[in-house]
């Protein structure tokens, strides 16, 4: 009996993964296999490059991945139909597999730069580590915004304002006072939190749509001020020459006294990239750690209660204004940290980096990931930002595809990818997650 079941599972899994592989092949043939490039040597001539190895890799990865998932994770009696819903498990992840996914991701994130270096060499891996840094920046921003939108249920459409405040705080402090990154990082966070409170006081009386519109306007105001205050911020020219971070005082420079020299390594510009990667990784993990801890503390529970029912909160003696303000300020603070990281990574910032589109992307990451879910934010950030960059070649089409994916996900999983809520405190050891259908989205 068991053997029969196993057999049918095997056959179903094989069928399903074969289907997936065929689809991948069809898609990858055109999207990955053929690449039009400008030949650098022979003038501006276009030529077609074939990348069959990449196609084969994609097909094999999809086949093997789906097969393994089918066999060991989804374990569904009927093979998942070939379709979008097949790519992710129905319902929530079980605690076991969710934990495995979590730690798997963590380990992957820790070893990623060295694995890439090992496979692709320092030259080839640079672009991927750069991309990973970008993804991590968005993960951190998503986690920051998750406090405001996911936990407290306050729809903030102007989150990028705090990102901008953080970036400009660092750039300006460095520019006018010559402060180093490590002094500016906390200052940038504090300043952003301060702005969060300043904005929050008048705005948090509003609810729902009104709050969304006012935060959106605030985001634009910050950008317009940065754009027009030419003498102070450099206006559209931006600020350049922002100092790079040092490793406990060791600069990533060539020659004596630099990082490479100190550790007896050969100078390589990849060192700084890897350092930046771990820097943002640690910053993001701190954000996650603080958020997860706060969730289990009275303030975090009050945020979630606020999202569920504000009136009931007031009837229980919770000062809702202060509670909202802390959520807003804390979200802003992490945005500010991320902003100063952005400034130090780029070395140059201008108001162009802080448009409404950024706010929209961060919000999309939070919403697609599943409001309040930390893991969902990671998955959504990897998919969205990674996808965005990988398909850069498709130029304007990628926005179209991006929109399409958003629509599809929202239809198929309206509560986001990871849509169950873990209780913040439980009596029994194996308390189950709460289905998203029961969880409120907040109303302002």
């Amino acid at each position: 009996m068991q053997a029969r079941q196993r057999d049918s599972l095997l056959v179903a899994s094989l069928k399903d993964s074969l289907g997936g592989a065929v689809i991948t092949f069809a898609l990858a043939c055109v999207m990955v296999g053929l690449k039009v490039d400008v030949a650098s040597g022979r003038g501006a001539e276009l030529f077609l490059e074939h990348r069959w190895l990449a196609v084969a890799t994609a097909v094999i990865v999809v086949f093997a991945g789906r097969f393994l998932l089918n066999m060991f994770f989804w374990k569904r009696e009927d093979a998942p139909s070939i379709g979008i819903s097949g790519f992710l498990p129905k319902g929530g992840l079980g605690t076991g597999s969710a934990n495995m996914l979590k730690y798997g991701m963590l380990v992957l994130a820790v070893v990623l730069p060295f694995a890439l270096m090992f496979w692709l060499g320092s030259r080839g891996s640079r672009q991927y580590i750069d991309l990973a840094i970008l993804v991590l920046t968005y993960v951190m921003l998503g986690w920051g915004l998750n406090i405001v939108v996911g936990l407290a249920g306050l729809l903030d459409l102007g989150y990028v304002a705090f990102y901008a405040v953080g970036a400009y705080s660092y750039a300006l402090l460095a520019h006018y006072f010559g402060f180093s990154f490590w002094i500016c990082l906390p200052l940038a966070g504090i300043l952003a939190a301060f702005w969060g409170i300043i904005l929050g006081f008048p705005v948090l009386r509003l609810r729902g749509d009104y709050l969304a519109i006012v935060t959106l306007a605030f985001g634009e105001i910050i950008r317009v001020v940065l754009l027009n205050w030419y003498e102070f911020t450099g206006g559209p020219d931006g600020l350049s020459g922002i100092p790079r971070p040092s490793f406990f005082g060791l600069e990533f420079t060539r020659g004596e006294g630099g990082f490479a020299d100190f550790f007896g390594l050969k100078y390589n510009s990849i060192h700084r990239i890897i350092f930046l990667y771990y820097l943002i990784f640690i910053m993001a993990m701190v954000t996650n750690f603080v958020t997860m801890r706060l969730r289990r503390m009275p303030i975090g529970r009050a945020w979630e209660a606020l999202r569920e029912d504000e009136i009931a909160c007031r009837a229980l003696g919770i000062n809702t204004t202060n509670t909202k303000l802390t959520a807003f300020a804390l979200g802003a603070m992490f945005g500010g940290f991320a902003g100063s990281f952005f400034a130090t990574r780029q070395g140059f910032i201008s108001p162009e980096s802080f448009t409404f589109l950024e706010s929209a992307i961060i919000l999309a990451i939070v919403v697609l990931g599943g409001l309040g879910s930390q893991m969902g934010v990671v998955i959504a950030a990897v998919v969205m930002i990674g996808g965005f960059e990988f398909f850069r070649e498709f130029e304007e089409y990628r926005m179209l595809v991006f929109g399409l994916i958003m629509v599809v996900i929202m239809v198929w999983k309206p509560r986001g990818l990871v849509s169950s809520r873990t209780p913040s405190v439980a009596l029994s050891k194996n308390a189950k997650g709460i289905s998203a259908d029961l969880v409120q989205e907040g109303h302002g």
Partner: protein, 282 residues
């Protein structure tokens, strides 16, 4: 001079609440005796919930005074306080006519949220708790114990980790009462706690309310339509009609008050005898 006038926990004095041209409550005065179960009754739209909303700060009264006398001697003028301070400082807790639980949070979490204020102090406004300083851990354990105590009282201890929205209607009502009790109130205001309960649940509710009154030094003010509940458990009944008090006394007194009968039957006072005869009450 009745017992509730000697040492009232709450004095409502000349309370008036107007919405535009509509006077929902007009010049209402009554006392809630310490340790009593006081019932506020009246036909639909009489203004009962409005009185509750004034007491708990959700509405600012147009006129009048609401004096809460806490057992430690503090006096609080409720009409001057914002809603959350009425619970936090004056120790008045309430439930809602349309239940307001945190549906996406577990039953235990609901009771933990109710203990927000003492826990915030214990965690040094989060900072100490975040760093693992001070007695936050112990306070947290104590808070869970308090929650467990109430869960046992309302018979939901086995479902502590289930989402509140999954509970049956009767369980939700009782959970809302337990949640209000977790704020440590001296006056508990219940808006139609027995609405929608079956007779068995209704009986359990009576027991729970008696228990709360006896064991927790909490006075209870409740709005109720079900006369059998009112007559059985309350010490003192106040009757409202069109925002005006028409009767105030013991259940026995109120039951036989012609004004009350008239209001509930929807006729003028002088027609009461006639109607009573017609329907055969006398």
């Amino acid at each position: 001079m009745s017992t509730w006038d000697n040492n009232p926990v709450l004095k409502v004095e000349h309370l008036t609440m107007r919405f535009g041209g509509l006077t929902a409550v007009g010049d209402l005065s009554f006392n809630v005796g310490r340790g009593d179960i006081t019932a506020l009754i009246g036909p639909n739209g009489a203004g009962k919930t409005t009185v509750f909303n004034c007491i708990t700060g959700f509405y600012k009264p147009t006129e009048g005074r609401l004096v809460m006398n806490r057992s430690n001697g503090e006096k609080h003028l409720l009409e001057r306080k914002p809603d959350f301070k009425i619970t936090a400082e004056a120790k008045v807790a309430r439930t809602f006519q349309n239940i307001r639980l945190f549906g996406g949070m577990t039953i235990l979490e609901n009771l933990m949220v109710a203990q927000h204020n003492p826990l915030m102090v214990a965690s040094n406004w989060t900072i100490g708790g975040l760093l693992g300083l001070g007695g936050y851990k112990k306070s947290n354990v104590d808070a869970i114990e308090t929650a467990k105590y109430w869960l046992e009282r309302i018979d939901l201890i086995d479902r502590a980790d289930a989402p509140a929205a999954d509970l049956s209607y009767g369980d939700q009502r009782r959970l809302e009462i337990a949640r209000a009790m977790c704020t440590g109130p001296e006056l508990l205001c219940l808006d139609e706690p027995a609405a929608g309960l079956n007779p068995k649940e209704s009986l359990e509710l009576n027991t729970l309310l008696q228990y709360i009154r006896k064991e927790h030094d909490t006075s209870v003010l409740l709005i109720e339509h079900d006369m059998s509940v009112v007559m059985e458990i309350s010490d003192h009944v106040v009757v409202l009609d069109y925002g005006v008090k028409i009767s105030d006394g013991t259940p026995e007194f109120v039951k036989n008050d012609p004004h009350v009968i008239a209001a509930y039957l929807g006729v003028e006072d002088d027609e009461v005898d006639q109607v009573e005869e017609e329907v055969g009450i006398v």
